[in-house]
């Protein structure tokens, strides 16, 4: 695959790649952009080569996953070195979400994203690959470099936990809402 073909493929998958990078970077937009930039550079400079062992999309997502993990390790080391600065970075990550996006988001979507954040990384990533990227469990396993059995387990457990937390949130929301509307009902 030459450079122009690679660029065309990357451009076609750019939106999905950014979504996957966001998921790998705990929805930090800045970090996701940095990771994706590094991935593009790796691919265009030939440091990461597609050998056709899987689909291009699966390979690209695997590269993003590995690069994000590397970046996370580096940032952890940086945090260990400069504890004072790390506090600032944590604060930045917490407030990394775009305020306009948060304002426009529906209540259901907010609850869904909160529930998703509470899931363990592997479960969240498996659900993302299956539901967001429409990949099969085998492809998701290839991307995450785990066995299909493990991917299936993460998928089932993730769905279960997501359902539970969404159900709890809905109940909580309903009680709160009813409580506000008719304070006499709830003591």
């Amino acid at each position: 695959m030459n450079i122009s073909e690679l660029k065309a493929e990357l451009e076609k998958l750019h939106s999905s790649s950014f979504g996957w990078a966001l998921s790998c970077c705990r929805r930090d937009g800045g970090e996701a952009e940095e990771v994706l930039q590094t991935v593009y550079l790796k691919i265009l400079e030939g440091k990461a080569r597609f050998r056709g062992e899987s689909s291009f999309r699966t390979w690209l997502f695997a590269v993003i996953h590995k690069t994000a993990a590397g970046e996370r390790r580096k940032s952890l080391l940086r945090k260990l070195r400069l504890l004072g600065e790390s506090q600032g970075r944590i604060d930045r990550i917490a407030s990394a979400e775009r305020p306009d996006a948060a304002a426009e988001r529906s209540e259901t979507q907010t609850r869904f994203q909160r529930a998703l954040e509470q899931l363990p990384v592997r479960q969240r990533q498996t659900l993302h690959l299956v539901f967001y990227q429409d990949l099969s469990l085998r492809e998701a396993a290839d991307v995450m470099d785990i066995s299909v059995g493990s991917a299936r387990r993460h998928y089932e457990r993730g769905k279960q936990r997501l359902r539970e937390s969404l159900g709890e949130a809905e109940i909580g929301y309903g009680v709160k809402w009813r409580g506000q509307k008719n304070p006499g009902v709830v003591s």
């Binding site: 660029k7 990357l10 451009e11 750019h14 939106s15 950014f18 979504g19 966001l22 937009g29 952009e33 994706l36 930039q37 590094t38 593009y40 550079l41 265009l44 400079e45 775009r98 996006a101 426009e104 988001r105 529906s106 259901t108 979507q109 869904f112 994203q113 659900l127 993302h128 299956v130 539901f131 967001y132 099969s136 469990l137 769905k159 997501l162 359902r163």
Partner: protein, 182 residues
Amino acid sequence: MELSGEDKRIQASFHELRLEDERFTPRFAAMSDRAHLSSARREIAFDFRIAAAVVIVCLAVFSLALLSRYWLRSPQLSYAVANGAVKSGVNPAQIKEDRELIPRDERVEVVRKARPVRFTTHKQMTRLAARLPITSEAIALSRWQSPTTSFLRSPGDEMLRALPQLNQSLHEMESFLPNRTN
């Protein structure tokens, strides 16, 4: 993959999330340009690091060359080393005074003329160091005197070593001869 009602609900939420992300996805061209820019910046930084390393190495070599030239041109120090002063812990100034006591032929003159700067100083010094014990032994041997030499000396030594003068009187000569009456 077949999805149940609950799964469809999760998928719908993910779909909504995807739409939200798409609205804030940066353009591919901009990201690609930025990637190339950061790559170029990294290359410049790398070049700068190499240049700095080369400058430091050059400075180190230059200062080493200057030091070795100074060291080779210092005859007092070289002489002191050659004659065992450094090894024996004697002050080099003292050695300079002692130098006059050593016969001219036995002196080890290390620096006879200014040499060009060379990077074989260590080798030269090793060679000199190897010669140190031999030289000091030779000096010690030339200075050696038997402890019983003083017993062989007598007041008439001068007479025994000197030849009699032709105009010396017979009486004076008889004083050296054994007494015939005895």
